[in-house]
Each structure stands twice: as C-alpha cells, then as structure tokens.
Symmetry: C2
Subunit: 333 residues, 2 copies
C-alpha cells in the first residue's frame, strides 16, 4: 500500500510535543503553526536548503541527511545566540520510500529531541530530492549576536577544531587515504551545532558567525560588515589530535590541513570576536557548564580597516594562502 | 560577468524595509533574521514548496512564479486569520539566469509590497528548479482560526467563486477551448490570497481553511478534525459570470464546471464555518471595508457526524460526484 502525502506526515512527522513549554498552540495539521513567543523575546529564523548532488550524494545515508538538514539550521541559530524552539520541513522526494523516510525522520528527530525543537509544519512534494528546513528560535530582545559589531583590538576566536568536515568530504571523494577516515566523515555528516556556546556568547561576544563556507570567507562577512580587518596566526588554528596524527603519519601534508582549516567549510564551528576580559568570563562559564562545551581558541585579533582584509602570519612572518571559500554559483575559486 | 550567490541576494532580494513597523531588527545578510513580535501576539508560520513539473511548468513566466510562490503561502496565513509580516525564500536554480531572477523577484515583491511583507532571509542553491517559501505572520493570542472547531448547524461558506484555477490549468493543458482562456489562466497563476477576509474572520468564524487541494478534500479536513459532517447544495456553489458564460456557450458542460468547483483545487478561496448571526456581522464588515473583499456564498451547513462525511444535494435530491482532490503521491484519484 502506498502512503499518501497526508499519511506520510501522519506516520513519520507528527509527533506529540515532548516538552510542556514547547509554545506550540497549533502544530502540524493546520494551514499554519501558531506559536507562543514569551514577552520580551525576539524571533530568530533561518531557512536552508540541502539539494542532492550539491550538498549530499544521492546514496547518502538518510539518517545522516535528516540529522544534518537540521544541524546546519541549528548552527545558524547558535551563531545568533538564539535558543532553538520550532522547525518546519519541506521535503521533495522522487518517490515514496518508506524505509528512507523512516531513517530520515529518525535522524531528524534525534537532533530535534536533543535540543527540544518541535516540528511544527512541513510540506512534501514529488520531485528531485531536496530538503528545505526553516528553523525558529528565540532570543531575549536586543541580545542577538550580529555580524557587524566587531571592534579593533578584540580577539578573533573559534570553537573546537577546524578542517575536519572538509577532510571528511575529501575522504568521501577518495582524494586522500587516511587512518581515521570514518572519524572525518562523521565530522562532515554528524555536525554538532554549537547551540549552548551561542547562548553563553549572548552577553559577551561582539559579533558571531558559524563557519559553513570556510573560516576566511565567513570571517570576511564579519569584517566587511564591521568595517574592520584581522590578523590571524596560522599556528593558532586549532587542528584536532586526529588531524595532527594524519599529518605526522604523512597521510596528508601540513599545508593541506591548514588549507582545509582556512577555506574548507562544513565546520559549523562558531567564529566570534570578543574582548579579552569577556573571553576570560566565557571560559569560566564554559568550565562551570553542565553540558560539554568545546574549547575556544584565540586565532588572531581585529585591527582597524586595512588591505588585505585578512592577514595571515606564521611565527610573525606574513604568509599567503588562497583564501576563497565556497560559493554556490561560482564553485571553488 | 556571472553573479555569485552573495551578489545574487544583494542584487535581487536585499530590499530596504519599506515600513517603519516591519519588526525587522536584523534582516537579510546575517545567520538568522531577528524579528520583533508585539507582546500579546502569536506567531503563525507556514512553509510551502513549488517544484518544477509538479506545481509549474519549466517554461513558466518567472514573474508569475515569483508571485504565486508567495501567494500560496499568504493564503495559508489568511486561513489562520494572521497578518503577514515576514518571509524567507529558498531558491534552487539550474543555472544563474539574471533575466529570470529579475522577473521572479519582480513578481515576488509585487505581492510582498502589497501586503507589507518583508523578505528577511533566504538561500540560493544550484540544482533542479524549485522554490520553498516560509512565511510568518502574527495573530492576537487566542484568535487564530483553527480547523477543528466547526459546530453542527453552522453555515459552510466560501469566498468569491470556485473552479477557475482548475479550468485555467485545463486550458494550459489544452483540454478545453474556451472564450476567456487568459482570464482562467490568470486565476490559476495570479491567485489573490484572501488576507483581509481572514483578518475579518478572526472573531467570527469557528473554523477556516484555504482551498488548495479542492473544496471537498479541504472541507473534509475541517470535518474530520471537528468530528462533524456537512450537507452542500450544488446549485449554491459560486461560479463566476465568465464560468457561466463558458457553460452557456457550450465550451464546457455544466458537470465539468461543478467538478472543477468541487475537486479542482488551486482556488485559494477561504472555506469556513460560521453561525448565521456572525455571518450577518461579517457581511456588514465587508460592506464597510476600505479594501475590496470578495462576496461570501453560503454553500451548505454543518451536521452532526454521519456517513458520508459530505452529502451533496441538488434541489433537495442527493447527487453523487467523485469527491477526491489532489494528493501529491497518489495523484488525482
């Protein structure tokens, strides 16, 4: 028996709200969802599409696709310091495939449940495989983290480590043979949105963005809109122990590792600017936090506007790198 | 010179907010939009995809596609009684086509400006042509129009006239040769979302839905969730003067016209249940309204739950019709 559009939503996506404070007055099954926003809060919304053969391969594990479709959107909320609340999902599918949908929804809800995000609506259509997720969060009025407020002399910081998603993609494309292949593919596909860190940054960071297109490209967005420049120290870019192991065993050379860290994209770490005093306070909050929040690395500092916008140093010597990230219509340049 | 993804957003979609009360604290160009919701209001959100070869033909006029992608979403807000405020847009395009984008955005913004809806974010990706719009509106807390509150003895009403969008589609498929071909195609492609009517219905209607899948299918959604049934009078289904002209000149037969009105879909009229007293009040409000609001037709009444869920009468005699609307995975059945 084939499922209809309505059955599909009923079977795979209509879940009872698990939290009392979900704010869902009317959920799935009406023309719109109706959502309660606490007084004194602002709404944060982000919409992202994942398209087959662009963002993922046709044979992608549907569990991982469901997970990642939500993860990249939650990462946008994290970059604003917003608390995730609700999500809408539009799926276009070439054909009804119940096994695929069961796995997709399992991955989607695993992450949704982790962050108490409620699915409040959606749309299913027949056509070339693509997924559009629109996520909504809330943030106390006036505390959202903008891009355009970086100040000279502040520190440039990044969470966790860089370049692993990009190496994971290179592994999938068989461009490298590495020892920890599955670890890097997991970094690409099971991205951890830095939601708790974003919330801690609300009162502390002056600007913030999530690294989806590559460190230098995303930093440029901050710098351009803040009318500043930045100096980065190559040796301070955080590489994970497993990435360093791949360098030491010769699986990849150091230059490739830094290229992935600078321009690879798909990191979904938070990149932010912050004063030294506020960074000390942030580190105390991270230490006290009940959930695990990744370590913060200082990778450089903000300067008054100058050209080039980003200067790279290695042990006090200027170095040059191709600094372009990913652009969907121009491709890698 | 080809445009990059960022240029594209900058060129075609980044508009200055035209209204002072737009509520946009941070708009396009950051990770999320940050939106002010007035205290005491609830958020209404709806997400709809339009996919090439399913919802439109590849050679569609991009102006009309941009218009309709927003219109169908605004229609969902209208069906909740919500005031439209903000919209996000995800476009997947096979290739950068500036003329296409200029026309698409012209159609999109024509309707957005009409209803003071501000584009607050979006995403552009390379891939098979599809459009996903996520629209957000506000409604005073507790006044959203649900589906599940129809009561026995209330009237079943519908705005304007039915079946024109479906006849427009039949014309495009060359299934009919009619006199007023362009009029019906316009009805299909330049849908008027009934936003002002929805707002008037807030305190008056007990349930409401917009007719996208066909009158009977959408009425069934109301009846099922309200645990009611309905009796409809075929002769009371509103057909426009031009539709009647096509019947009189023999371009289409009467049975086809009623079939389109009952099951055709693509009407985007509001279908609602209301008490007789409240309907009288609604008609007074419509008369006094400064904007033109279409006439309301009473097409039947709600009964206690019985089978079949919808009974059709023609001059007091029960008649039978195929009552199925459109379902995306099963097709027309």
């Amino acid at each position: 028996m084939s499922l209809s559009e309505f059955d599909l939503i009923e079977h795979y996506f209509k879940r009872t709200c698990t939290t009392e404070n979900s704010g869902v007055a009317i959920g799935i099954g009406d023309d719109c969802a109706i959502l309660d926003l606490p007084d004194g809060y602002q709404l944060a919304v982000s919409t992202d599409s994942l398209v087959c053969d662009v963002h993922f391969f046709a044979d992608v594990d549907p569990y991982r696709l469901g997970y990642k479709a939500l993860a990249v959107n939650l990462s946008d909320l994290a970059a604003m310091g917003a608390t995730p609340k609700w999500v809408s999902l539009a799926i276009t599918l070439p054909e009804m495939d119940e096994l695929w949908l069961a796995e997709f929804s399992r991955g989607f809800f695993e992450l949704a449940n982790k962050f108490n995000v409620v699915l409040v609506g959606g749309d299913t259509t027949k056509g070339p495989l693509s997924i559009t997720v629109s996520v909504k969060g809330i943030v106390p009025r006036g505390l959202a983290l903008p891009r355009n407020n970086a100040q000279a002399d502040e520190l440039v910081c990044v969470s966790a480590s860089l370049g692993e998603g990009a190496l994971g993609l290179a592994c999938k494309l068989n461009e490298h043979t590495v020892k920890n292949r599955q670890y890097f593919i997991d970094a690409l596909e099971l991205t951890e949105p830095r939601v708790e860190l974003g919330i801690l940054l609300r009162n502390l960071a002056s600007s913030c963005i999530d690294i989806s297109d590559g460190l230098t490209q995303d930093l440029r967005h901050i710098l351009k809109s803040s009318n500043c420049s930045a100096k980065l120290e190559l040796d301070k870019l955080p590489l994970s122990d497993l990435m360093r192991e791949e360098i030491q065993t010769g699986s990849i050379n150091e230059q490739s590792a830094y290229q992935y860290a600078l321009t690879g994209g798909d990191d979904y770490e938070l990149l932010f600017t912050i004063s030294a005093a506020n960074l000390a306070q942030l580190n105390k909050l991270i230490e006290k936090s009940e959930v695990t929040i990744p370590a913060i690395s200082v990778i450089g500092f903000v300067t008054p506007l100058q050209q080039p916008l980003i200067q790279l140093f290695k042990q006090n010597e200027a170095v040059s790198f191709s600094l372009q990230g990913w652009d969907h219509f121009k491709g890698q340049i």
